[in-house]
């Protein structure tokens, strides 16, 4: 017996926001309905097969005016790795000064991205 599943994916490529109806048979996409353009089809396919997300968080910093440093991934990471990546960064502490763009963690979890600072932090007394 064939396994059949229908998932609805809201396309976020443009403001129209098509609700793509994706039929999946035996783990493979067999049909995409209710999208108005090829970009929607592409988006829905990606969302089913390999959804990617930007990753961002804060990590602890010592010696700066505030106690947390905002960071991001250089490229999007797989959606299902977001929580793993957040946990990986949870116990990291860096020292000021830091420059925006500095690599804070190289290639976490082998995701082939780096975690970089998104803000300059000078060395200073905490206010």
């Amino acid at each position: 017996m064939k396994k059949r599943e229908v998932r609805v994916i809201t396309c976020i490529i443009c403001p129209i926001g098509c609700k793509a109806k994706v039929t999946i048979k035996n783990g493979k996409i067999s049909k995409i309905e209710d999208v108005e353009c090829p970009r929607g089809e592409e988006y829905a396919t990606r969302e089913i097969e390999a959804p990617m997300r930007d990753f961002f968080a804060t990590i602890r910093i010592k010696g700066a005016s505030i106690p947390v440093l905002p960071v991001r991934s250089t490229q999007p990471i797989p959606k299902d790795k977001i929580m793993d990546c957040a946990l990986e960064l949870a116990n990291i502490v860096v020292d000021a000064p830091v420059k925006a763009g500095d690599i804070i963690v190289k290639n976490p979890l082998g995701l082939r991205v780096d975690i970089i600072a998104t803000r300059d932090m000078n060395q200073t007394k905490q206010r």
Binding site: I16, R53, D54, A57, T58, I66, P70, R72, I82, R119
Partner: protein
């Protein structure tokens, strides 16, 4: 007390104020000062650590800190003067500014032009009238964001979010990523108040339930909030008692709207728009008081900072023109009035001579519509309340436009072709 003369005073050093000051300086105005209430420039952007900024202005996907750093650097390179920790107390229609800080004490500035860029504030519990006790643990989404992403505190472990505005959705994701359980996002309207992108990436990705047509009817707890009562609402927005249920939580986050901050505008007798809550501006971003300009969320609440930057640049350019070579008043004044399915239009006054970008807020979502401005018709595929409708009045469009004193701006369904 000595009065200092400046060409342009910018009130507020966030995205709008920085863009305005930078553009005015680039246009040749030397004596500019930014007055900023907080301890840093940058406004709200430093605490918006997520991506999605700059897609339209820089054609790049930046985080908030990255977006604003580009303007901070430019302001620094242009040696624009600013005063931090400085609270402006009053401005007059004659463009005299009274401010106070701990270095200068009380200071008075006489400006040739003022740019208002004070931004907006969040609506609070007191403005909602939710019944129940008054325990700790009820915060606005922006306060929670500041606590987590600037101060490094996690304000709770089990959260309910009231309102589905963008900041609330973004905070739902931040809470989830930090291991705090988000029990539900509760929205009184039948559709989310935030952008689709945020509903998908902040709620669906983290399996956070979105309860549409629901509201919080009561708050429980004495010292700290312990639970909220949530109920479905009927078509008129009234809670249906039989649907009430209690959700345990230690924190209630409010994301229930933003209000332009205009106490200062009122001290200068600037006419405000009762719908946007901000000054009525013309196509140069000039308010009803000559030489006082306004830009950004103080005028009306934007959904994209990219548009705030553009409004800031326009205000900066206009203020520079006013100082260097006074702007001729508009020869014709066309007042734009909100019609069918339009909540607000900015600018409210246009001249009908120069190209101008109009920003509209709609009341309800609609598909396959036409925007009508007097006799002009512009088709649009979709309009939604969370997304500002942008209408560019090009030269060709202006040629056709009938230049009456008042024009109605409406959005109506197009009959199927």
């Amino acid at each position: 007390m000595a009065k200092r003369n400046v060409d342009i005073a910018v009130i507020g050093g966030g995205a709008a104020g920085l863009a305005a000051a930078i553009r005015a300086k680039e246009k040749g105005v030397e004596n500019i000062v930014i007055l900023e209430r907080s301890e840093d420039l940058g406004g709200i952007l430093p605490q918006c650590i997520h991506t999605g900024f700059g897609l339209s202005y820089f054609k790049e996907n930046l985080t908030g800190p990255e977006y604003i750093s580009r303007f901070l650097k430019k302001a620094h390179d242009l040696q624009i003067e600013y005063k931090l920790d400085t609270m402006v107390l009053e401005i007059t229609p004659g463009k005299e500014i009274t401010a106070v800080n701990s270095v200068d004490g009380l200071l008075t500035l006489q400006a040739k032009a003022i740019i208002l860029a004070m931004g907006c504030r969040e609506r609070t519990r007191g403005m909602l009238g939710i019944a129940g006790t008054r325990p700790a643990g009820i915060l606005t989404a922006g306060t929670a964001q500041r606590l987590i992403d600037i101060e490094g505190y996690m304000p709770g472990a089990k959260v309910v979010i009231l309102g589905s505005g963008d900041v609330g959705l973004i905070m739902a994701r931040r809470f989830a990523m930090e291991g705090t359980k988000v029990e539900a996002v509760v929205e009184i309207l039948p559709y989310p108040s935030g952008l689709d992108r945020n509903v998908v990436q902040c709620l669906e990705d983290f399996n956070i339930p979105l309860l549409l047509q629901h509201t919080v009817t009561s708050i429980h707890g004495s010292d700290r909030i312990e639970a909220v009562t949530v109920a479905k609402v009927d078509a008129s927005g009234k809670p249906v008692q039989s649907t009430e249920r209690v959700i345990e939580c230690d924190t209630l986050i409010l994301s229930v709207g933003l209000i332009p901050e205009n106490e200062l505008s009122q001290t200068a007798d600037i006419a405000l728009d009762s719908v946007t809550g901000g000054p009525i501006v013309n196509e140069h971003m000039e308010t009803s008081v000559e030489g006082i300009f306004a830009c950004g969320n103080v005028v009306h609440v934007y959904d994209l900072v990219d548009h705030v930057t553009q409004a800031g640049e326009l205000a900066g350019e206009s203020a520079a023109r006013h100082v260097l070579n006074p702007l001729p008043p508009l020869t014709k004044k066309i007042t734009l009035r909100a019609g069918d399915n339009v909540r607000s239009v900015v600018p409210q006054i246009i001249g009908g001579e120069e190209t101008v970008t109009l920003y509209l807020r709609v009341k309800k979502p609609m598909r396959d519509v036409k925007v009508t401005i007097g006799n002009l018709t512009i088709p649009k595929r979709v309009v939604k309340p969370p997304e500002m409708v942008v209408v560019n009045l090009t030269e060709q469009a202006l040629e056709k436009l009938e230049k009456r004193d008042e024009l109605k701006v409406s959005i109506m369904e197009r009959p199927e072709q």
